[in-house]
Symmetry: C2
Subunit: 350 residues, 2 copies
């Protein structure tokens, strides 16, 4: 029952423009330090899983940057998708690969672009998940909500009557409106869906067969093509025919027998520049800055300088980013809406 | 009575950081278009004065950039100061040079770093000055004040009783406080001192002899050294001994018989980034931008991109400047105080 980790390095480019673009999406940018989020995700797992069992799932347009960022990962562990079809196709395809290597494997799926506050607590939480997988359809990892966030999905779980690590999952819940989110935070039984899941690999394949038969049929057709290049015409054709559905919607929401492990680490999906405030420590004036910078009479700003020096003077609550020949100056409350700006900039920027 | 023009390209670097620095002060930056302010000043004069009679007064540390920016100006017309001693020394030294070329010359002194709104009206105003110089000690050019500016010096003049272009000057006035400036604007007899002056060259040398005897003594000692390099030890020694006094304070304020020509052109000394609003046309949202830029939901900003693209999103009343590997983000009301930031940045920036 060896543990395999799938690091899912998909994702878009608009939210962290100009540091991220469609060519260099969020997992590949060094948002929280000198390592990219993808690199941090791999390094964070290494104490628990040897590199031989860490697989990187990426689109073929990002194969080169992924291999360059992760020279320590074995070449065969990059699972390249010819075309993206959301996390169900991604994880189904990875499950096929793992099934070839070890039919009794356990599969841990991890998004590559989240903030994790404490690596030790993170591994401890995952360890608890592994210990509670037997007898469950899957284990999910839930984050105790710290605010009435309307941008995340939630999971309702039942507090175990005896002292236990795992909470039986009642149901998955789509992004709520604000009053509902308030109620969720107050209740104590609702968790943020971290997008981290654990299955026995053969269970996951069975779930595809039962709950996503169209995808499963595609996976069966893909099985003999494993080892071929992602540019293979037949592989591309099959992949393109798979429905574009998330694993949450396609499988998790329809599964019974799920268990939830409450996370013991700080977590954020860092969805845009403004959310860096929840992941990085501010200075005395509440500014968060990376790279070469000076600020004077400025507070509440998020400053990211890739190669130039940013000087902020007498400004508040701004996002200022310099990267790849572009400078973004954005009010913090517009950061979540950055796609509008990228659209205005035109197609070469997205 | 040939007209010589002295373009005074002194000036500091802090006010337009990071585009201007001590190495590339304000006259040498392309603040209002593709030409530098110095280049614009020379081009603006050319219809009235041939290049052979346009002299460029600069410190020796800026000789190279000045010659590079003005290849059309004859090499001998760059008057290099070994050390800066304000405008009295600058103009005295230039007057010596002109005296050698043409003892009957007229000297027009022009700052190299101001905004002039209308080149034709400017030349017409200067032409009126030339026509009114005979019988006067000097002609000064006054700007009708458009606001109660406390950052400029004023000139009080007497409205001529008959219809005439020249107003007799009553006196020069230092920078006033706000209520006084309000009164000046309301009166109609106060003008902003543009720093543009016109003398017969021999009259100016006589004024030095009478009103600035110490400087005049230095000028007499400098006369036989004309033609030597600005690195000449004796020249440097004499220059360093000259008092650091402006021509306004040293001569103009003490002179009688001055006449003022009211300017017929828009003028601004563009003292800092925020004053670009008075020199350049804003877009529909009141943003002023040069270089590659996009703005969305942003108003009242001043954007200057030297080599990168600046994107402004949901911001107001900011100065955003990218130049020479630096990015400035500054509230518009702090722009006049930019020296504080440059000081905080350390000596290599000033």
């Amino acid at each position: 029952m060896a543990l395999y980790t799938i690091v899912m390095a998909g994702g878009r480019g608009e939210r962290f423009w100009p540091l991220s673009t469609s060519k260099i999406p969020k997992p590949f940018i060094p948002l929280l330090g000198s390592n990219s989020l993808l690199q941090e995700t791999v390094v964070r797992m290494q104490p628990l899983v040897p590199l031989e069992r860490i697989l990187i799932s990426i689109g073929k347009e990002h194969e080169e940057i992924a291999r360059r960022q992760l020279p320590q990962v074995p070449a065969d562990n990059f699972i390249i998708e010819p075309v993206g079809r959301d996390t169900s196709a991604c994880l189904g395809f990875c499950a096929l690969h793992i099934d070839q290597r070890d039919p009794d494997a356990t599969l841990l799926a991890l998004p590559a672009d989240h903030f994790i506050g404490d690596g030790d607590a993170y591994l401890k939480t995952i360890q608890k998940g592994i210990e509670n997988l037997e007898g469950a359809t899957a284990v999910v990892f839930g984050i105790t909500p710290r605010r009435a966030e309307t941008g995340y999905g939630y999971i309702l779980a039942e507090k175990p009557s005896v002292r236990a690590d795992a909470w039986p999952v009642i149901r998955f819940i789509e992004k709520p409106d604000a009053p509902t989110a308030e109620r969720y935070v107050a209740s104590g039984n609702y968790f943020w869906n971290s997008g981290m899941f654990l299955w026995n690999n053969h269970t996951l394949l069975k779930l595809f067969a039962a709950l996503m038969p169209e995808t499963y049929k595609g996976l069966c057709a893909l099985r003999p093509l494993i080892g071929k290049s992602a540019t293979d015409a037949r592989m591309t054709e099959i992949f393109a025919s798979l429905p574009r559905i998330s694993i949450d919607y396609g499988i998790m929401e329809k599964s019974s027998g799920l268990r939830l492990i409450p996370a013991e680490f700080a977590w954020d999906d860092i969805g845009n520049w403004a959310s860096l405030e929840r992941a990085l420590a501010p200075d005395a004036l509440g500014n968060i800055a990376q790279g070469s910078h000076v600020s004077l009479d400025s507070n509440g700003c998020i400053i990211y300088a890739q190669s130039e020096t940013i000087a902020a003077f007498g400004v508040s609550n701004l996002v200022v980013v310099q990267a790849y020949g572009k400078v973004l100056v954005c009010s913090k409350d517009k950061a979540a809406d950055l796609k509008r700006l990228v659209t205005a900039l035109g197609p070469q920027e997205g």
